[in-house]
Each structure stands twice: as structure tokens, then as C-alpha cells.
């Protein structure tokens, strides 16, 4: 819907707002990454879904519930007065595609965080971004006790396009998380110039 709001003529100058998604399986470090680069502790917002918004197979055991609350953690990075980047962690429950569509709409791109001990947990995210033509990179979060796989092995296991960057990271470290975001933005810029006129996400 486009009705009922005006462009910022005169008055307050509004910043250009941009958004990056941080996806991956439960407990892989999405909120940690958001928190390590954002200017404040991650914020939490909720969407209340009615039954019809949720995959029909997943209501076993919650028959008495008519609504479900989906929580999203996000952070903000301001660059001066006129540019803001928001980082949104996608809800861990991969069945809430309705919420993913809403988050992906207008996003620059996505970071898929992976844990090599549970690599399959990030498959739904990879599938989603491939299907929606949203540029993404894969960042392997290095957990201390995890066996190290080579990045080529990870790439092979995920069977992703060879152009998709795959990198190691430590989501707790600000410098590492900064590298992840920069790698993604450079990848988005490259994909954009290659594709000419990419499909907008979420359409």
C-alpha cells in the first residue's frame, strides 16, 4: 500500500534506511553478530500471526492457540544523519515464511551464518535467498569446539553458486562482524552490476 504518506518535503531530513538480514539456524549466533556491530544492544520486536499465516503442518500440540508470536532481534548502525543500516536476525523457526517475506522485502542482502557441526540448519536459509534472488554470503561462525572444515568443503556441502562468498567469522568479535558485512555489501554491489536489473526481493 502506498497511500496516506508523503515524501519528506521540507521539515526534518529523513535518513536513507537500509537493511541486511542475518539468517541461519537456531543458536548459530545471529543475535550475537547483530549485537557485536550495532550501536546499542539488540532490540526485539514481535509480530503476532494468526493461524492462517503459519504452515498448517506445524500446529500439532498447539491446537488451542489461535495466534503465535514471532520475535525478531535487530540492531541499528547510524552513519551520520542521513544513512542508517538495520541488521535483522530472521526468526529461528524456519516455518514463518510470512515473516521472512516481510523482512526480505527491500533488503540489500543477507548473511547466512553457519555452524559446521550442524550445517544442515542453514539449508532453509540458503534455499530461501536463492529462490528469492536476494544476494547472500555464507559466514561460518567458528565455535571453539567445532571441527574445522575447509571453506571449499562447506561450499560443496551447500552446493551454492561459486560466486557466493563463503568466509570464516567470529560473531562475537566486532572486527570480524564488520568484515562479514563489508564482504556482503561488496558482493551485493557486484551482483547488482552483473545482473543489471535484479528482481527485487520478496516479490
Amino acid at each position: 500500500m502506498e497511500s496516506g504518506h508523503s515524501e519528506g518535503e521540507g521539515g526534518t531530513a529523513l535518513p536513507t534506511a537500509t537493511k541486511i538480514l542475518i539468517a541461519g539456524g537456531f543458536g548459530v549466533g545471529k543475535t550475537t553478530l547483530v549485537g557485536s556491530v550495532s550501536e546499542t544492544a539488540p532490540l526485539r520486536t514481535e509480530e503476532i500471526l494468526s493461524e492462517k499465516g503459519i504452515g498448517v503442518d506445524d500446529l500439532a500440540g498447539v491446537e488451542s492457540k489461535s495466534t503465535t508470536t514471532v520475535a525478531m532481534d535487530f540492531g541499528r548502525i547510524s552513519f551520520g544523519e542521513d544513512l542508517v543500516l538495520y541488521l535483522f536476525g530472521t526468526p529461528g523457526q524456519d516455518r514463518f515464511w510470512f515473516v521472512w517475506d516481510e523482512l526480505a522485502h527491500g533488503a540489500l542482502g543477507a548473511v547466512v551464518l553457519a555452524d559446521t557441526r550442524r550445517l544442515a540448519d542453514c539449508f532453509p536459509s540458503v534455499d530461501y535467498f536463492e529462490r528469492h534472488h536476494l544476494p547472500f554470503i555464507v559466514a561460518v561462525n567458528c565455535f571453539d569446539e567445532a571441527r574445522r572444515y575447509s571453506l571449499d568443503e562447506v561450499k560443496l556441502a551447500l552446493s551454492i553458486d561459486p560466486d557466493v562468498p563463503v568466509m570464516l567469522c567470529d560473531a562475537r568479535q566486532r572486527e570480524s562482524s564488520k568484515d562479514v558485512l563489508i564482504t556482503l555489501i561488496e558482493h551485493v554491489r557486484k551482483s547488482r552490476s552483473r545482473a543489471g536489473d535484479p528482481q527485487p526481493a520478496g516479490s
Binding site: G4, H5, G11, L14, T16, L43, E46, L85, F88, I182
Partner: protein, 125 residues
């Protein structure tokens, strides 16, 4: 076995909102708008007084948005679901109390400047 602590205590935030979200929206579950979660909300006027159709939550949004904030930030700061904020924004827009600016689709940006600014900005953090 001691039992007294087994009953959960529903106090403060754990008890949930005292006023249910649909009460604030006078029963409306769906907003007219589908604003993006990063749409910028900014007050167009100082906060109005309470009146018919303008509740405390409307006033809280106008007060909060004296500087621009994303829809998701408004929701997080007020502790209300996104859907509730969207409905309240419908009311505020009808009274021209706020402006809401949707993000530009980045695919239509004429040049690289936003990408440049983001990369340089993140490096400098």
C-alpha cells in the same frame, strides 16, 4: 518435595500487557498500510492531547518520533507488536500527526554511492 515455587509468578512484563493490543487498536487486527519494518516514522507535529480516537499509545508514538525512527524501533521501544503499530500509524497518518517514508528500493538507486557510504562507514566503526 517442596512445592511452593512450582507455580509460576506472573508479574510485571511476564504477565503480558494489561491492555491487550487489540484494545489499543479498537478491535482492528489489520492495518491499511503494509509499511516496511525499516520505514522511517517521524512526527509532523508536537504530540496532541488525549481526545476521542487518540489514545496514550498514539501520543507515545508522536513523542518517540520527534526524531525519525524505523517502524520496528517504534514497536520495540513501546513494547507493542508490529501489527499494532501499523494500525496506530493509520490513525496518525489520517490526522497528519506523523509522516512515514518507505525505503527506496535499492535496485532503483542510480549509482553506487550508498554502497560506498555503507562500506566506508562500517570500516570506520
Amino acid at each position: 518435595m517442596a512445592m511452593p515455587d512450582s507455580e509460576p509468578l506472573w508479574v510485571d512484563d511476564a504477565a503480558g500487557p494489561v491492555v491487550r493490543p487489540y484494545a489499543m487498536t479498537r478491535g482492528r487486527a489489520a492495518a491499511q498500510n503494509r509499511f516496511n519494518v525499516i520505514s522511517q516514522v517521524v512526527a509532523a507535529q508536537p504530540a496532541p492531547a488525549l481526545e476521542v480516537g487518540i489514545g496514550p499509545e498514539h501520543i507515545a508514538i508522536v513523542n518517540l518520533c520527534q526524531r525519525p525512527l524505523a517502524l520496528a524501533e517504534v514497536a520495540a521501544h513501546l513494547g507493542l507488536p508490529l501489527g499494532t503499530i501499523r494500525v496506530l500509524l493509520d490513525d496518525l497518518l489520517a490526522r497528519r500527526l506523523v509522516k512515514v517514508i518507505e525505503p527506496k528500493p535499492h535496485t532503483t538507486l542510480p549509482d553506487d554511492s550508498v554502497f560506498e557510504a555503507l562500506i566506508n562507514g562500517i570500516r570506520a566503526l
